[in-house]
Every structure is written in structure tokens, then in C-alpha cells.
Symmetry: C2
Subunit: 167 residues, 2 copies
């Protein structure tokens, strides 16, 4: 019935499987390092890293959520947790009363500095160690390509809201 099933070539299959496997294993390895060294979840680390990178060390909640590909409610949860630990502060935006601005604190930067070297080392050890410089370059190019493609169509982590009253 309907259209005939689409297929993946053997190469595509191999690429897909290996890709998901690497992604899982890398993630686990990195999470362990972050947990052990800084008691941070992967998301928390990503949030701190993004804030640390931001020009003024602060960002809107929504932009953070989009940046790390994460649900808004989940971000609220993690931001609260980070705030309780004193690693970030949260406050309303002066421009838009609805927005919450999250800013990294000095303590947050300290923790970031604490875990960063180990994080880098873990990534190096698990992702790059077995690759040649050419491979890395290629990987960067291809992943950037796909990433751009993905960013294009689907809006973002906040799903288009209920077109509810469509009746």
C-alpha cells in the first residue's frame, strides 16, 4: 500500500548506526567526567559554557533552551538547580518583563574552569584520539553542513503552540 518503503544504502546504514553509537558512548563518557569532577549534568555544563561564552555572561531562557536543544520546562528545572548552587542568577529582563535573564556568577566561572580541562581531555580521548587531522576537518565540515540543514526547517525546542482553535 501507499508509497514503497524508502531505503538506506548499506553505507548510510553503517553511518547511521555508528553515528548513534558514538554519540551515545561519547555522551556517557562526558557525563561521567562532569558528574565526577564538578557534580554537573551535561545540560548544566552546556548552560554554563554558553553563558561563559556570552559577551556579558547572560542569556535569555529561550535562547539557552534553543542553543542546547532542550525543553523549556527542563531548562527551568536546571536553571533553578544552578541558581540554588549559586552558579547563576536569574532576573527579569529590563526590556521585556516576560523574559528571564540568566547570568553566570563568579562561582559559576570557577566551576566551569574546574571541569573544563577534564572535559576537553575526555572529548579528545573519546572522539578525536583515533582520527587524523584530515578526518577531523572532514567531520567538522559535514557536521556543520547537517547542522545548518537541521536548523533550517524545524523551528526550535518550543514546539509550535496549539493551533488549538482550528475548530
Amino acid at each position: 500500500m501507499s508509497t514503497r518503503p524508502p531505503q538506506l544504502s548499506p553505507t548510510e546504514l553503517a553511518a547511521y548506526f555508528a553515528f548513534t553509537e558514538v554519540s551515545s558512548l561519547l555522551r556517557h563518557a562526558v557525563e561521567k567526567q562532569l558528574r565526577d569532577v564538578g557534580k554537573l549534568s551535561y545540560v548544566q555544563f552546556q548552560l554554563l559554557a554558553r553563558l561563559g561564552d556570552a559577551p556579558d555572561g547572560s542569556q535569555r531562557m529561550t535562547d539557552l533552551a534553543d542553543g542546547v536543544v532542550y525543553s523549556r520546562s527542563g531548562l527551568t528545572y536546571q536553571a533553578q538547580s544552578l541558581e540554588e548552587r549559586g552558579l547563576v542568577t536569574r532576573g527579569p529582563s529590563p526590556e521585556d518583563e516576560r523574559s528571564t535573564i540568566v547570568a553566570i556568577t563568579d562561582e559559576g566561572r570557577d566551576v566551569l574552569a574546574m571541569v573544563f580541562p577534564g572535559h576537553i581531555a575526555a572529548v579528545k580521548a573519546h572522539l578525536f584520539e583515533s582520527l587524523s587531522a584530515g578526518d577531523v576537518e572532514m567531520l567538522a565540515r559535514v557536521m556543520t553542513q547537517v547542522s545548518g540543514h537541521l536548523r533550517a526547517e524545524p523551528p526550535r525546542s518550543a514546539a509550535p503552540r496549539n493551533r488549538a482553535l482550528s475548530k
Copy 2:
């Protein structure tokens, strides 16, 4: 302090960021498709797919857990869920009383057949659409390389147990 901090080259950084982003976005897209079409979580789909691929349609719990990079307790949970839905059966191994053998049922195969085309289409659309054949080949090669490297050292999803009484 101690050793000087390791560094990632700009290319490595770009590769790492793009890689994690693609992995997140792809995962979300695929999960949505599986949920919508077959009410399956990603893990559940992976489990069914692995069982469907196995020569006799069955596997040990531990091997499944290792295969999908998943915690053992999490697998117990999902296997229970799949069993309740009649998509798999579970029973003790005749060879080793400790082992549980999970086997896919005909219904399981039906659900798998139901979601598979859409799954393939999603992967094609999100991961491969913007890539050339050469890129795909390269990606397959590099990911396989890394995957092998990762599989090598760290044992598996079941962490080396408490070498507790090391005293």
C-alpha cells in the same frame, strides 16, 4: 594546576559542537516520529530492531543493554513495558539460569514494520539529505573508526562492579 590544560583546535571544537548538535536534533526528530507512529520510545525501537535483526529474534538482556548503550535497570523497565504490550517475551535461558532471554513476537515485528519506513525516511531527511555520497561514505568510515576505538577500552554499560573490598 598540575599539568597544563589540554586544548582542542578550532577545527576540533567546531566538529565537537556540530556533532553534539546534530546528534541532539536528529534524536529529537526520530523520537517524535517513533512516538507518533508506533508509540515507541527510541530505546524501545532500538530494542525491537536489534531483536528483529537477531538470527532467532532473541537476545540476552545484557547483550541488548550493551548494544544500545543503556543501563541495565533501564532496560529491565523498558523490556517490562514491551512485554506488557505483547511485543516481546521474556524467559530464563536454558543454558544459564541467571540470564533472561528476550524474544520479539509477531506483534513486535508488526509494529516494527509499521514504524520502520517512517524511521528511515526521518533519518534520510534529517541526516543524509544535505550530504553527498562521498560525505556519507566518509562519515561512515570515520564513525566506524571512532566507534571501534570507544568499544575497545571501556568495558560496557555495566560499570565494573565495586572492587569493594579492596580494603
